[in-house]
Symmetry: C2
DNA sequence: GTCTATATTTCGATAGAC
DNA sequence: GTCTATCGAAATATAGAC
């Protein structure tokens, strides 16, 4: 009876079964949470409703995310990461029309594809950023300073009008995110119908048309 | 004893004592509610906190406003009325630069003076306008259609570039309200300090500069 | 009209069987 | 890891004295 120790049965057949199941459940929960937080706000959202949307018992949510706030924080982080990557469209562009035009396109596309994440971020900031203030003070500040330097370089090179780079960035954020954050208002004014493909193209075109013309070199 | 009916003692000395007291209490409650709803959202706000900010017992709130939702609705209505009046800057203007320039100035000033009302509106719309959907479908739609006609008139008269009037309105709303709704983010990126008088002037100037140039006649 | 005390409901979180 | 049942805290709303 000495050799009867069970073979160390590592789950080699499907080595990622556990870890994949965890990942999948987390994704399901995060997606449901994003939707519920966007529609009800942090205070208005309930773990029960998120669980219902995710199709899981409420207790499971607490197994994957200890508290409501921890779950919320993850949702806010995710949209922030997506926006940071949109800066790729911005950098290394030869001129403002190319760089800023691409940035507008990318940001508009994010508003279209991730309206809920955008709303959760807006809600968080409107309430004084109680959960992600550190992101504003560090990551976002650095990101902004870097982009301001790029724009100022274009201005100094005479490639665009001498506008205030910081306020231009605010205008870009405001204008593009409006189509996500105020999507319900836009839709209502669109006759109650979601924007069509043509509507989105018109929106993008107009934003670029006005802003790029507004900042073009004299 | 026939003439001893007490003189019909109408409160003539201070004829508005009661009604003024009511008005004053309502104002105090509404102001506190606006602040709390803006900072915590509808779901996160509590009647207790509103009562504390107003300096009144919680029960009094329920005396003046039967439910939390009724109080909230009044707050949302108030900012909406203020914005509607901003259209006065728009109408009867001889040209786009004057009309839209004045509208931007007025809207920016409202963002500066009523940031909380703007946030409550934004929050309401982001959550699907559960309380004021009728305003979107009627008052706001009519208002928007009217302004679109004015802009289209300017375009037809060759006074400005042929942009999409509807999307121009969205840009105006987004850009001006950003300084209220995302005021906390703006302030954080401003080194943690509120915008100075000069900062506000710069913001206004840049918004007008870019947009007015962006829509100017070819 | 005002306020204290409390009823009622709802939610976040957890215990404990499976 | 999953789920049912439940605890304890906190919120809206109201009852009733003043």
């Amino acid at each position: 009876m000495t050799s009867q120790a069970p073979p160390t049965k590592r789950p080699q057949k499907r080595p990622h079964n556990r870890i994949e199941s965890r990942r999948e459940n987390e994704r399901t929960i995060l997606s449901a949470a994003e939707k519920v937080f966007a529609e009800a706000g942090f205070g208005g959202a309930t773990m029960q409703l998120i669980a219902d949307v995710a199709g899981l018992p409420k207790a499971n949510l607490h197994y994957y995310f200890a508290t409501k706030e921890e779950l919320y924080r993850r949702v806010v982080q995710d949209i922030f990461e997506i926006w940071l990557h949109a800066a790729d469209s911005f950098d290394n562009a030869p001129d403002p029309a190319t760089g800023i035009g691409a940035y507008i396109d990318t940001k508009m596309e994010i508003s279209r594809r991730h309206p809920n994440g955008s709303k959760v971020w807006a809600s968080e900031v409107m309430h004084g950023a109680p959960v992600i203030q550190d992101y504003l003070e560090n990551t976002l500040r650095d990101w902004t300073d870097g982009r301001i330097r790029v724009i100022q370089g274009w201005i100094d090179a005479g490639k665009m009008a001498p506008i205030n780079p910081r306020h231009l960035l605010y205008m870009l954020w405001a204008t593009t995110q409006h189509y996500a954050d105020f999507g319900h208002q836009v839709e209502t004014l669109n006759g109650g119908k979601p924007l069509s493909e043509a509507d989105w193209q018109a929106a993008k075109h107009n934003v670029k048309q006005i802003i790029l013309r507004g900042i073009s070199a004299v």
